[in-house]
């Protein structure tokens, strides 16, 4: 059984933990090493690998520190070519839409639409649960079968724009981040029968309303919704 926990989510930093029994995966490394140590209570040997979605610093700030701990870091070629590595032997290049294993987990990366080449989301299975992780994307093109946990960005909504926002920034967010409306469409388009929880991630600091988003998604799906 997979447990998904969010420790940091948003444009200031991202760190998520996926645990199945004693084995755990790290998604993103966009916080300081100190915070990573704290989250894992200094027991970093339990981390089987780190999955990096794209090369923006709020998702991979600590990549070199994580590699130094001896943790394999999985990312697409484009993401890797954007980053500077102190050492490369912990770098694992992945291909979108191909399955790979990290310990007991099976993972497939699927393309996302962001202003960053090679950005991906992840579909993770431990043979029992299926977790979908998708953030920093305009929309999701693929559909998924048999999901049990959905961790999806819900960054902004037409209803919750900060009236003072710079038009240029608004334009960028509109075409690079998931809105409540697009998340709703995604949830409607996919089979949610087995889903037991939905996590809303990466909310914008100034253009979102956590309670409103949570209620809207709960109303639509009838599933427990957690705002991380």
């Amino acid at each position: 059984m997979i447990e998904f926990t969010s420790y940091a989510s948003g444009s200031t930093g991202n760190l998520y933990k996926v645990t199945s029994d004693t084995c755990s995966l790290m998604i993103e490394a966009g916080v300081s090493m100190l915070n990573i140590f704290r989250v894992y209570d200094y027991k970093v040997s339990s981390i089987a690998g780190a999955l990096i979605s794209h090369s923006h610093s709020d998702h991979c700030r600590a990549i070199n520190g994580v590699m130094k701990l001896g943790i394999d870091c999985y990312m697409t070629r484009e993401t890797a070519s954007d980053l500077k590595f102190e050492q490369e032997h912990r770098l694992k290049i992945i291909t979108p839409m191909k399955k790979f294993s990290v310990d007991r987990f099976q993972v497939v990366a699927f393309p996302t639409i962001h202003d960053c080449p090679g950005s991906v989301g992840f579909l993770i299975s431990d043979g029992d649960d299926k977790l979908l992780y998708a953030t920093d994307t305009f929309y999701i093109s693929n559909k998924f079968k048999g999901l049990t946990i959905i961790a999806i960005e819900c960054n902004w909504s037409e209803e919750t724009w900060n009236p003072d926002i710079d038009l240029g920034l608004k334009r960028r967010i509109e075409s690079t981040h998931l809105s409540l409306e697009v998340v709703k469409d995604f949830l409607t388009a996919n089979d949610l029968r087995k889903v037991r929880e939905i996590h809303l991630l990466h909310m914008s600091n100034s253009n979102s309303n956590a309670e409103y988003f949570k209620t809207e998604i709960q109303k639509l799906t009838g599933k427990p919704v957690l705002v991380d």
């Binding site: 290049i93 291909t95 790979f100 334009r171 075409s175």
Partner: protein
């Protein structure tokens, strides 16, 4: 980079699809192309241009964009009777979507086609030091503009204006915009013209040729006036013009056609990737040593908007 044989065949297929569809639109929905417009020539020059066109990550658009979006962009080009060789249109990739945008020569050509009473559309940039007066008579703006060659400086733009004249050289439509208004319009573009500090993003056409882009913006505004007040004789053309406008500014169109439209991913059915490192020796396959991998197949079940209408 020379296109491979496969790419050539692929492009020929796209070209054929576009030509067939155009024929169909001509016969069934009364699309009338301009008399001197040759779709095949336009498609050939589009192909030459597309071979050289890169997306914002410096990758060839023909590799990164979906074939459906390429076909759609070429369709819009032909329907609107634009020629890429005459720089009436250009192609921009928004993510994996190739989009055809009209230049101001293109906007001009479309307007003259829709309203045959017009003879020409002219645009000028107003620079610091120019003498410019604007008066309004019967609701129509009239301009007097005195400029000097030495005033031309793309860092000192005050604004731009455009006029449409008929065959008697009478101004029929006129529009002017301050540089602030123009910049506000640029901010709405999906291209990401401005960086986070509010400066022009280097590498965008707007940063390289602000004067030309000012003309384009003001001509486009004028064009909107001309196109929206013309009759609906050619509905196919008007629909296409509307789609092009939306593609530049409106993101809902892409969401509607692309989101949740791709293939269903079932983790049990996905092929396994080759291990990133040699398991026995532990030898790392670094990115440079690895063979380039092909990009993921384009999503299935994509719909071309307007193809079935």
């Amino acid at each position: 980079m020379a296109p491979t044989k496969n790419e050539v065949t692929k492009h020929e297929q796209i070209q054929e699809i576009v030509l067939n569809r155009i024929n169909q639109l001509q016969q069934e929905r009364g699309l009338a192309l301009p008399g001197n417009y040759n779709p095949t020539n336009a498609l050939i020059s589009a192909r030459l241009i597309l071979n050289q066109t890169l997306d914002k990550f410096k990758k060839p658009v023909l590799e990164t964009c979906t074939p459906v979006s390429v076909a759609q962009a070429l369709m819009e080009m032909v329907i609107q009777g634009l020629s890429p060789a005459k720089r009436q249109c250009y192609f921009i990739a928004y993510g994996t979507q190739l989009t055809m945008l009209r230049s101001y020569h293109g906007a001009k050509a479309v307007c003259l086609r829709v309203n045959p009473e017009l003879k020409d559309i002219r645009a000028q940039v107003i620079y610091e030091g120019d003498k410019f007066t604007e008066t309004i008579k019967n609701g129509l703006r009239t301009f007097e503009h005195e400029s000097a060659f030495g005033n031309i400086d793309d860092r000192k733009i005050l604004g731009a204006y455009a006029v449409a004249v008929d065959h008697e050289e009478t101004v029929v439509y006129a529009e002017s915009m301050t540089f602030e208004q123009i910049k506000k319009n640029w901010k709405k573009s999906k291209q990401g013209v401005f960086d986070s500090k509010g400066g022009l993003n280097p590498g965008t056409v707007h940063a390289d040729f602000p004067g030309e882009m000012c003309k384009r913006t003001v001509v486009n505004r004028l064009a909107k006036l001309i196109l929206n007040t013309s009759d609906d004789a050619d509905l196919v053309l008007h629909e296409s013009i509307k789609r092009t406008d939306e593609a530049e500014y409106d993101t809902t169109h892409e969401i509607e056609s692309q989101a949740n439209a791709g293939e269903v991913v079932d983790i049990e059915e996905v092929d396994t990737d080759a291990p990133p490192a040699d398991e026995e020796t532990g030898e790392i396959i670094t990115p440079a040593e690895e063979k380039p991998k092909t990009k993921p197949a384009p999503a299935k079940g994509e719909q071309i908007p307007g193809f079935d209408s």
